[in-house]
């Protein structure tokens, strides 16, 4: 188990290196430098600026420096938010993004799994069709459409909830819901499919044959097996929620990392954008690792030794 975790961590290193390398060379290849401004600066000042940011060194030296900095958690100064370093901005936004993302994830798993199981157990009934219809809508209607409509109906017409900003629980309801919807839909579809398959399996027949009640069969045997595909979907789901948070934070004006990312992208704040990409890549890799380590708890056939 520990050696497996160590091996997986070791194999994550090249991936992270690839991310940092791509990120670094993309900054370099991008047309236009960070200090191209409307106002022309004298050549001496430009040279000083370049020296201050080590832009005058050979590319390999710069790369090694960048790598070293990133490994110590230092992503450099933001090009736009002049008095802040990228790390400060990340530290500022991450707790908010995390609250948003974790709440959406929990909501998606709980609702998606229950709805999918229900649909499978009541196959071809009205409740099955209702769940699957809603799930299909959740997949076909993007959340950047759902979010403004929910805001309009619940926030403006009925004035039940605030339409933007970040503060108490009230502020979180709409964004969390909008962020969770596509994941609820996908998890529900996934659960329904795997639950239908599991219900036909031999061990379920055995459970029924030995006289277990339907409730005990489903909760004690079927659910654990049906959860496996959902568990392996958690990695992509996390990536989906992180990507979704970019647009949701923008719509609701939430000061999280996603909003910094979009603002940074639009402002060509290269270091900020890179910092976000590397930060999230590492986060996704670590979460995938955790999911893989959890797998044997649900599926005894899988062992990490």
């Amino acid at each position: 188990m520990f050696s497996y975790a160590a091996r997986r961590l070791a194999s994550a290193v090249p991936t992270i290196l690839v991310v940092i390398t791509i990120a670094f060379f993309m900054i370099r290849l991008a047309p236009g430098g960070p200090f191209d401004q409307e106002r022309q600066v004298p050549p001496e000042v430009a040279a000083n600026l370049e020296r201050a940011y080590h832009l005058d060194e050979p590319l390999t030296a710069q790369f090694v420096r960048y790598l070293g900095n990133v490994l110590t958690g230092e992503f450099g100064p933001s090009f736009r938010y002049r008095d802040f370093s990228v790390s400060e901005l990340l530290a500022d936004g991450f707790p908010i993004s995390m609250q948003l993302g974790v709440s959406a994830m929990i909501l998606a798993i709980v609702i998606g799994f229950s709805a999918g199981s229900l649909a499978a157990l009541r196959r071809n009934t009205a409740s099955d069709m209702a769940v699957m219809g809603v799930a299909m809508t959740g997949i076909a209607v993007p959340n950047f459409v759902v979010a403004p409509i929910m805001t309009l109906v619940l926030g403006v017409w009925f004035a039940l909830l605030p339409v933007g900003g970040w503060g108490g629980i009230n502020h979180a309801i709409l964004p969390v819901l909008a962020l969770a919807l596509p994941q609820i839909a996908t998890i529900a579809r996934l659960t329904r499919g795997s639950m239908l398959e599991v219900l036909r399996a031999d061990f379920i027949r055995t459970a029924r044959a030995k006289g277990l009640s339907e409730y005990a069969t489903v909760t004690g045997h079927a659910m654990r097996a049906a959860a496996l595909p959902v568990l392996s979907y958690l990695g992509p789901a996390t990536a989906g929620i992180i990507t979704g948070s970019v647009v949701i934070e923008q719509i609701f004006g939430i000061p999280g990392i996603g909003r910094y990312f979009v603002q940074g992208a639009l402002n060509r704040d290269y270091t900020l954008v890179m910092g976000v990409v590397i930060f999230y890549a590492v986060l996704i890799i670590l979460l995938n690792l955790i999911v893989d380590l959890l797998y044997p708890l649900f599926d005894p056939r899988v062992r990490h030794d």
């Binding site: 090249p14 950047f144 403006v156 647009v247 639009l266």
Partner: protein, 287 residues
């Protein structure tokens, strides 16, 4: 004495077509999607309005007899804009999917067929790429290298081929052990010919299914980018751009949000139903 009459022989493809025709959701989706596509291709020419023509009498007015979908904040006919936007969204979806299919099929077939170290290396690369937050890289590309439609479909295609490579590799592994492939190898066919003549044609089923399900994903990605202001640029438009504009003025002019959303959602619905239908039709087990 009774004559033994045999049913005419049926190929697997004909079987699949019959099954697909019986799937009402898939057939209805195909018809609706066909109508949307035709409308997007020919509609703008027939409407009598230009994409960027401004009707000064009617700025941001609701639908009426002249402008069936109303007008936008610049007095431009929304019907033409929705249909032209559809052209872009559909074209990008299809083009990016073709890129993804080309890379994914080649990659997966090579890995599966050649096996060994090459397989391990190729699939390891796929694993590494899998772990990356792809949308962020597409966004970076768009930021750094300009919002060029060609770059956009190449980028979207380049991030969508991973699943395809995995599916194709799995299929190739099982095809490789079949007798007709062995026969070809035994007769001395070169690797290239075995892959192109015997392996790739037999992969078409899963590839078609997966491509159908990739198109809606790419369309969604494109509208996501455009919504953030990083996709298609004025005066060109796409469903994502129109939805973004509509969302901003949703209270004053709901039609600007409703019509593009309707087209986008219907298209995504139809593509998903067709993809599911194709999968059921081509995979007769269990249905």
């Amino acid at each position: 004495m009774t004559d033994l009459t045999l049913a005419p022989p049926r190929s697997p493809w004909r079987d699949a077509t019959t099954r697909l025709r019986r799937n009402r959701a898939a057939v209805a989706s195909a018809v609706i999607l066909g109508m949307i596509a035709l409308a997007c291709v020919f509609g703008p020419m027939l409407s009598g309005y230009e994409l960027d023509a401004i009707d000064w009498e009617k700025i941001q007015t609701p639908p009426d007899a002249d402008h069936w979908f109303g007008t936008d904040g610049n007095g431009r006919d929304l019907l033409v804009r929705v249909l032209t936007g559809g052209r872009i969204s559909l074209a990008l979806g299809i083009a990016a999917t073709l890129v993804a299919v080309a890379i994914g099929v080649t990659w997966g077939a090579l890995a599966g067929y050649l096996g060994g170290t090459i397989d391990a290396l190729l699939m390891r690369i796929v694993d590494v790429l899998y772990a990356l937050p792809f949308m962020f890289f597409v966004i970076l590309l768009m930021v750094f290298f300009g919002r060029d439609p060609v770059l956009m479909f190449v980028a979207l295609g380049a991030v969508s081929w991973l699943d395809m490579a995995r599916i194709v590799r799995g299929q190739t592994l099982s095809l490789k052990r079949q007798d007709f492939v062995r026969a070809a190898q035994a007769m001395g066919a070169p690797t290239r010919q075995v892959v192109m003549r015997h392996i790739v044609p037999n992969l078409m089923g899963p590839v078609v299914v997966f491509a159908t399900l990739t198109v809606p994903q790419v369309i969604l990605f494109e509208s996501f980018l455009s919504f953030l202001g990083l996709g298609v640029q004025e005066p060109m438009t796409s469903w994502g751009v129109l939805i973004s504009e509509g969302a901003e003025t949703m209270q004053a002019s709901p039609w600007m949000l409703v019509f593009p959303t309707l087209f986008l959602a219907t298209t995504l619905f139809c593509l998903n139903f067709i993809g599911d239908g194709l999968r059921d039709a081509l995979d007769p087990r269990d249905h």
